[in-house]
Symmetry: C2
Subunit: 439 residues, 2 copies
């Protein structure tokens, strides 16, 4: 998949925003090699079982067959662990709060642009802590960073919580997930944060001398998000006329379209407005010789949040026309204080986009208390199902088979008591679970 | 090679600075796949001959042997060409001014940290133009961006100009290079900019309908720099006590060291200073329980441009001590207007570092007019040799063999007339060339 300039500009805006959040929470960026020797990948048993079937293997380097084949990283736990084993000695070296921006490869059989691709860009945080408590706090802290990012930057609501044991990351003791719902009711695993305990530390012999002068194994986390979030943007907000981009990541926030631009003064005024607005907003002035109608359609397709039309009559009245991409609403506003007007409008668009997506998620979330009800909802009203569960993965398997793919999404931090028994087997319920099909 | 946080922070500062320069000159970032199918790499003859021997090959994906092996990109001309063939149709689609930040792999037999590694981070620009003239202008424009970056950001002077035919990039009609000299007189190919003519366009069948309604082949360029620039920084500026970082890319520009920090008021004042300075500079306050002497050595090793010492006596006098990393000079300055003082000092440090490196380059540059003189300089005074050349690559081979590795670095844009004849064969000279050994 080629990520072209407009798509990459969205990714850059996402990346810069997240990177700021990571640095504000004390993390540092590093870069690890892209190749993992097979023996290194095999050090943690669950991990290699999870990833080996998806690996791309380098077997020839510089015209010669390699003695040991190299995996193109599907994720970098093993590389971070090998490094940590070398650089961590005492509790003074902890915590290690590292993050990496890179591309990874997973040999997918079925791909979908942005949602599931064999190669994708992502960030992967890998941290090491003195105590289980600190590591668990970090796991939850980074989940919260993701939830905030989805809400504040992408205008996307989500359910979130813990994965069931069956759905955990390979090698993790706990996996938290943020799961937004696409417009059509299908879920997307939008970002995950894992607590590993000291399993990797033991496998890679990472130890530190503690405050008690004894050797201990540190506790570890990892957390990641990817270009899949561009897919989420498209699938949550867009419509049949193209993209609808949230203002915070839109490569162009305001598109200025001069009307009757051949008339005297129009282009001058449009240019002056452009020079002024571009100091505050990512602004584009389209003074090409295409018709205004063509330009309207063009920037609608590209999802530009605000179109600004400016013609001779507007100039006479010291006004312009603002058109919202999300609602198509047309506003006639004064050119005096136009920056403040647009700032407020962009904030309003963000909030409205979030609330519409939230409303959609609520509308497409249903409660099932019996097995038949669960199957009926799964077949007829795509979306999330809230239902009680006994804790047995056999019930997850049965529900998945019976519904053609509905899986547990997460156990939310605040569970509701919907019934006393598991929706599948009727045994006493342990948890409320969000269920749904996924991309 | 693992790039740890401090090194990666240097790279981020370099990358952000260059990325701004690329965007200011109209370029857009994209992302291409990291794998190149073998058949695609083979489309341009010179190119595949240059790179195939250095490739890492993926032969197994997802447990299955691949029908066609995939090269991990050593450079991405072929991928950009395949994409351009699909998206360029008319002269209205030109120019295409794309850049990519990614990692590439070249299977090096001998590696040196930062200077020559099998995997490295880089940027590669790939542009497509209507005419030869435009493409040649772009090639020179981007060379100039590199020269400016080296001077203005890295405080590194360099010679620059055209590569001889023998030293050109695989497939290029012209290669321009920027060649800084390391402190020990050894050259480094610090960045290159290539003009390809329409060779790749013909090989990949990229055509556009021109203003004359006929089909034409566009003209192409590419240009790149890499994490090797971190190697250049180290080898140009540093000394036996560690790094000496130019202020523009130093992850920490000012390190505040409290003196007698247990005394009342010292840490309060240091903290207040830190809060104020960090708005303008990348500032670190080290209030750990290590001794001041340990801290001095630590931030010297890390190459922090300015150390700020603050003790009880300084506070009494409303002053502090600034110590330059590059010269060790100690300055007693007032705390009034300290921001302006430090801003001016950092600019002075940058200029002084540049001028010292320039002086070193001049001192280690010698003129040879005879073959014996050339060999004598090559053996006894490592550095650049300026000498005339007939234009025949046989003379380049002979000089390289006779000197144990001195190669042509570049033909500068402004050549001097040092003699009438080639320093090697005595035939009439065509060019003045800079020669030198390289990393």
């Amino acid at each position: 998949m080629v990520i072209r300039p407009y798509g990459y500009a969205i990714w850059e805006n996402m990346r810069n925003d997240m990177d700021r959040r990571f640095k504000e929470t004390g993390h540092e960026n590093v870069y690890m090699p892209m190749f993992i020797p097979e023996s290194l990948l095999q050090k943690e048993k669950d991990h290699v079982e999870g990833f080996a079937p998806e690996c791309a293997w380098v077997t020839i380097g510089g015209s010669e067959k390699l003695n040991e084949r190299l995996c193109v990283r599907p994720t970098s736990e093993t590389l971070f662990c090998e490094h940590y084993a070398k650089v961590v000695n005492t509790y003074r070296d902890l915590p290690k709060l590292y993050n990496q921006w890179c591309s990874v490869v997973r040999w997918e059989k079925t791909t979908r642009p942005f949602l599931r691709t064999s190669e994708f860009l992502w960030q992967e945080g890998h941290t090491l802590h003195e105590t289980e408590e600190e590591a668990r706090e970090e796991t939850q802290r980074m989940l919260q960073v993701y939830i905030d990012f989805y809400k504040e930057t992408l205008a996307i609501p989500a359910v979130f919580g813990a994965k069931t044991e069956k759905e955990r990351f390979a090698g993790a003791k706990e996996t938290y997930t943020v799961e937004p719902m696409m417009h059509n009711g299908v879920a997307l695993q939008g970002g995950t944060s894992h607590y590993f305990g000291d399993g990797f530390a033991r496998a890679f012999d990472i130890t530190y001398q503690g405050r008690d002068n004894k050797l201990h194994y540190p506790h570890q986390t990892s957390w990641g998000t990817s270009t899949r979030m561009i897919g989420a943007l498209i699938m949550v907000h867009s419509d049949d006329d193209g993209l609808v981009l949230p203002p915070k990541v839109a490569p162009i926030q305001v598109a200025i379209i001069p009307i009757a631009q051949h008339k005297e003064g129009v282009l001058d005024k449009a240019n002056a407005l452009y020079e002024s607005l571009k100091k505050t907003f990512r602004t584009k002035l389209d003074d090409s010789d295409q018709s205004p109608g063509w330009k309207f359609a063009q920037y609608e397709m590209k999802g530009v949040p605000v179109r600004l039309e400016l013609g001779p009559k507007d100039i006479e009245k010291n006004q312009c026309v603002l058109v919202r991409r999300d609602t198509r609403e047309k506003l006639f506003v004064s050119l005096d204080g136009i920056e403040d007007t647009i700032t407020a409008l962009l904030a309003q668009i963000h909030d409205d986009m979030y609330n519409r997506a939230l409303e959609n998620m609520h509308e497409k979330t249903h409660v099932a208390t019996t097995y038949d009800e669960f199957l009926d909802i799964a077949e007829n009203t795509p979306g999330f199902i809230k239902a009680m569960w006994c804790g047995d993965s056999a019930c997850e398997d049965k529900l998945k088979d019976a519904t053609g793919g509905v899986k547990s999404r997460c156990i939310p931090f605040e569970e509701e008591h919907l019934a006393d028994t598991c929706v599948c087997c009727g045994k006493p319920a342990k948890h409320m679970v969000y269920w749904g099909k996924q991309y």
